[in-house]
């Protein structure tokens, strides 16, 4: 791997990101432009941007690495990432758009009329954002190392700097266009090599790897314990966690109304479904052509390495360059989206009372710097689990906190301020404790390893139960009035809603 092609391709993606981002600066002038593109993004562009933002290092590299190491059970990751959007569609998409909130803390406050719930939500958004940014930066590190032999911190520096500058200068408007572009780049970058690899596999007489139950469900291949529990926990975290991811929700406020929000999700589901057909191909064919990567730290690089192993000469070089470009598009787009959300919450809520920090835009820029610097420092010191597994921890925290808040908040009028707060604290506390334990001292083995490594199966029900029980004990008349007003706003179609300024 001494070719210069991949490096040039990465430079191209970085350059294009900067160019489109800088072009966007000319139209980004108000705080609203920065945070939600002034709600003026068309549905097609919005859907491509959501797809571009959502398909992260975990989707582009992590899934293939997991399939390579552990086999067919890992297909639940792409399935779960997609179904997460379907669950979001049926439970929160339209009501959330109608809530008129910019961010998750806005929704929390709108629904409960409580500053305390708002602050708890703000802190959780920042923590989930950082947890999700961490694997993006680590992914950039291992990609650059695999392609050029650079030290792991180099790739993280590239992504942190590019993201920090684009977000701080252009905010949401410019990254909408950047991310839409990056979806199509990622799709092309994974689909073309995958199709050619399958053709090569036919040429070689379709060899199949069946050893030790790798291709069979629930085999626990690769020394995974409790495959059934783990499968269901992954299912729960990804199905319910998507709706609680900060960068996913912020995109819904850029739709003009609730119906447009639903239709956007429908388009997003189509885009995700097409993309997720391809990463498992790399995992499955990697098992045949690059078996030495399986079960090692380098499994995540199978997407990057496989084309040059299977194809010689210029074709291998060109395809390596293409997947490298796609991988960097994945890190940059997801990291930008997360960075905007975290910076928005930091500047709106947590830095708000620092008057000397200046106006909304300069607070947003300070927020951006903090948003990207913390996960960057974490990436330098944290031990590394598989990319898709780290991302799933962020899903598990989101599923244990914002999923109960959103679902109960939208569908259950009896949710109270104290109920919402208790759910966030207990669910978030339990899930975060598991995450910190795994990242700091893991991986663990046995029952403890399964429960902490995939905590969603017990933390999500715990959070729901806490919210419901506390709400039932604390409901009163004033809470009922708050709920009635919120329900009219969340569920009433736009045609009959009173116009709001």
């Amino acid at each position: 791997m001494t070719s210069w092609w991949p490096l040039l391709a990465i430079l191209g993606v970085v350059g294009a990101t900067f160019a489109i981002g800088l072009f966007g600066v000319r139209v980004s002038r108000t705080t609203s432009d920065f945070l939600v593109a002034s709600r003026s993004v068309s549905p097609t562009l919005n859907a491509s941007a959501i797809g571009g933002e959502y398909l992260s290092a975990a989707s582009f590299l992590g899934i293939a690495g997991l399939v390579l190491s552990y086999g067919v059970d890992m297909l639940w990751f792409p399935v779960g990432y997609t179904v997460g959007y379907l669950v979001l569609l049926i439970l929160v998409a339209a009501p959330l758009r109608r809530s008129g909130a910019y961010t998750l803390p806005d929704f929390a406050e709108m629904r409960t009329r409580s500053r305390r719930v708002r602050y708890a939500s703000s802190i959780l958004v920042v923590l989930i954002g950082w947890l999700y940014l961490l694997p993006q930066l680590q992914g950039a590190g291992i990609t650059l190392r695999a392609l050029t032999g650079a030290p792991v911190w180099a790739g993280a520096v590239v992504v942190a700097v590019v993201v920090g500058i684009t977000v701080a200068t252009g905010g949401m408007r410019s990254i909408t266009v950047v991310q839409a572009f990056q979806y199509w780049l990622k799709l092309f970058a994974i689909a073309l090599p995958a199709v050619l690899l399958v053709a090569a596999w036919y040429r070689d007489g379709t060899p199949v790897f069946t050893e030790g139950g790798w291709g069979d469900p629930l085999s626990g291949y690769g020394e995974r314990e409790y495959p059934l529990y783990t499968t269901y926990s992954i299912v729960l975290a990804t199905f319910l966690g998507t709706m609680g991811l900060p960068h996913v929700l912020v995109r819904f406020y850029t739709n003009p109304d609730g119906r447009a929000a639903r239709r956007t999700v429908l388009a997003v589901l189509a885009l995700l479904s097409v993309f997720y057909l391809f990463p498992p191909v790399f995992g499955a064919l990697g098992r045949i052509y690059t078996p030495e990567l399986a079960g090692t730290d380098a499994a995540d690089t199978v997407v990057l390495v496989l084309p040059s192993v299977v194809f010689d000469g210029w074709l291998g070089d060109a395809l390596s360059a293409l997947v490298a470009a796609g991988a960097f598009a994945a890190f940059l787009s997801t990291a930008s989206g997360l960075c905007v959300s975290v910076a928005g919450v930091l500047s709106q809520d947590l830095l708000r009372h620092e008057g000397r920090l200046g106006d909304g835009v300069s607070r947003f820029r300070l927020g951006t710097a903090i948003a990207i610097a913390v996960p960057f420092l974490l990436a330098l010191v944290a031990g590394r689990a598989n990319l898709a597994q780290t991302v799933t921890l962020a899903f598990a925290v989101a599923a244990s906190t914002f999923c109960p808040l959103l679902v109960l908040g939208i569908w259950w009028p009896r949710l109270t301020e104290k109920g919402a707060l208790a759910g966030l604290l207990v669910g978030g506390g339990a899930a975060l404790a598991a995450v910190v334990a795994v990242l700091a001292a893991g991986p663990f083995t046995g029952v403890v390893g399964a429960l902490l490594g995939q905590p969603a199966a017990w933390t999500v029900p715990l959070a729901f139960a806490t919210s419901v029980l506390v709400s039932l004990r604390t409901g009163d008349r004033s809470q009922r009035l708050v709920s009635d007003a919120a329900m009219a706003r969340l569920h009433g179609p736009e045609e009959i809603q009173a116009r709001r300024a």
């Binding site: 067919v72 297909l75 639940w76 399935v79 997609t82 179904v83 959007y85 379907l86 669950v87 569609l89 049926i90 439970l91 339209a94 379709t206 139950g213 291709g215 069979d216 469900p217 629930l218 085999s219 059934l228 499968t231 269901y232 299912v235 199905f239 119906r259 639903r262 239709r263 999700v265 429908l266 589901l269 189509a270 479904s273 097409v274 997720y276 057909l277 498992p280 499955a284 569908w411 009035l481 009635d484 007003a485 329900m487 009219a488 569920h491 009433g492 179609p493 045609e495 009959i496 809603q497 009173a498 116009r499």
Partner: protein
């Protein structure tokens, strides 16, 4: 924008469209101001949408959640093959995706139908 400085009052026969639209504003205000009537109407819409979401959600849970269970209870199925590819790969790698999209498409149609019916109800009463 919709606030005019001086409001003109149209004197109309009670059976014309103009008269009905005055009544419409009344119910609409009930919904927006959460009067007893408005709360009841919104509750009926919310329950219709929740029923729909539960139908889709439970369907998902049974069909997708049933796949690991199916493999658990029927071990020969884990190694079964269709056209050279194992059942698990075909199901989870390919077939789930069109199924997810069709479910979503059906849901969006049904949810919009609920809302259209609700708007009709508000406008007519």
């Amino acid at each position: 924008m919709d606030e005019k400085p001086q409001r003109r009052v149209a004197i109309t026969h009670p059976r014309t469209a103009a008269a009905r639209s005055a009544a419409k504003r009344g119910v609409r205000r009930d919904v927006n101001d959460s009067t007893a009537l408005g709360v009841t109407m919104i509750r009926s819409l919310r329950r219709a949408q929740l029923r729909l979401a539960v139908i889709v959600g439970v369907g998902l849970l049974v069909v997708l959640g049933g796949i690991p269970l199916l493999f658990l209870l029927d071990p020969p199925l884990r190694e079964a093959r269709v056209g050279g590819l194992a059942v698990g790969w075909i199901l989870l790698g390919v077939l789930v995706f069109p199924a997810i999209w069709l479910t979503a498409w059906w849901y969006v149609r049904a949810a919009e139908r609920n809302e259209t019916q609700f708007v009709d109800l508000v406008e007519r009463s």
